[in-house]
Subunit: 148 residues, 2 copies
DNA sequence: CTGGATAGTCCACTCTAGTGGAATATCTGG
DNA sequence: CCAGATATTCCACTAGAGTGGACTATCCAG
């Protein structure tokens, strides 16, 4: 068998995620939560529950730790005073902005060598790969025998 | 900002890993261990410690669970009777072979549409991406402030 | 053959992160 | 205004997974 790019990429991605989390001092749940907040913008705490697959009561602790570490801030929602909005803390964001800027720079370095047509092939490939992976996740989750 | 393929792919990969592990009834450490064994072939138990980043004493439990679930077998090492070799259990492997066969089939479905030159571009891209990710992991791990 | 190193295991302990239930504050439909 | 629903938090508890230390069996250098 030649090089298994799928396996290698997959492993590299997972290790990268773990390395980032470790670097930030976050566990898997916290890291995932932070990612959701960074991508999704300010959102009520409860919105994290389905994303993380944990109960609502666990969120208090997760958010506590994220806040204590300085990555997010709790802000009362003016529109609904029961809610607490989570916003990424801009004063701490550079820390992890730096990580991804570094990654982006390194990626851009070789990406710039592809012409437009080549990039089209690559994005097509990535698009399809993402689609397939998501479909597999859906399938695996669907037929999940549960956590016995 | 257009679609962020890097983020989407990365997320999809991580979710896929998690879904597989959940499907197999394994936690992160066990899943990783199984991956190492499947890729690396029979190996003494102790060889897993550096891979997983856990102490030697934790391995007994991890291997116990993997063995109980039927994914690996303990076999005495004839060359060194202190050692116990871990081998993937071929009778159970189909379970997860099925998962990856399914993935491989789905990937092959669209991959077959690329011609040789296009595949060369794609593998070049993947190769570079893997290289960059590994470099970033090394960098992050190096400057790791430790788990305070 | 012997003394020290190595592989694996067992044990008691600890730490983390989750759960369910209850409390509080707030919103919303009638 | 009131009754029920919703968002978050607090609390006591539990389950899991790792640690360090000690033990056994085995290997190997001298």
């Amino acid at each position: 068998m030649a090089r298994d790019y799928g396996w290698e990429l997959s492993t590299a991605v997972v290790l990268f995620h773990e390395a980032v989390a470790r670097r930030l001092g976050l566990n898997a749940a916290e890291h995932k939560a932070l990612g959701v907040i960074l991508r999704g913008g300010p959102m009520p705490i409860g919105a994290l529950a389905p994303e993380l697959g944990v109960g609502a009561t666990a969120l208090t602790g997760i958010v506590d730790r994220l806040e204590k570490a300085g990555y997010v801030l709790r802000q009362p929602d003016p529109a609904d005073r029961r809610r607490t909005l989570l916003v990424a803390d801009p004063t701490k964001t550079p820390d992890l902005g730096g990580i991804f800027a570094d990654l982006g720079r390194a990626m851009g370095e070789f990406q710039s060598r592809y012409d437009e047509q080549e990039m089209a092939v690559i994005t097509d490939y990535l698009d399809n790969t993402i689609r397939v992976l998501r479909a597999q996740v859906a399938k695996l989750t669907q037929t999940d025998p549960g956590r016995a």
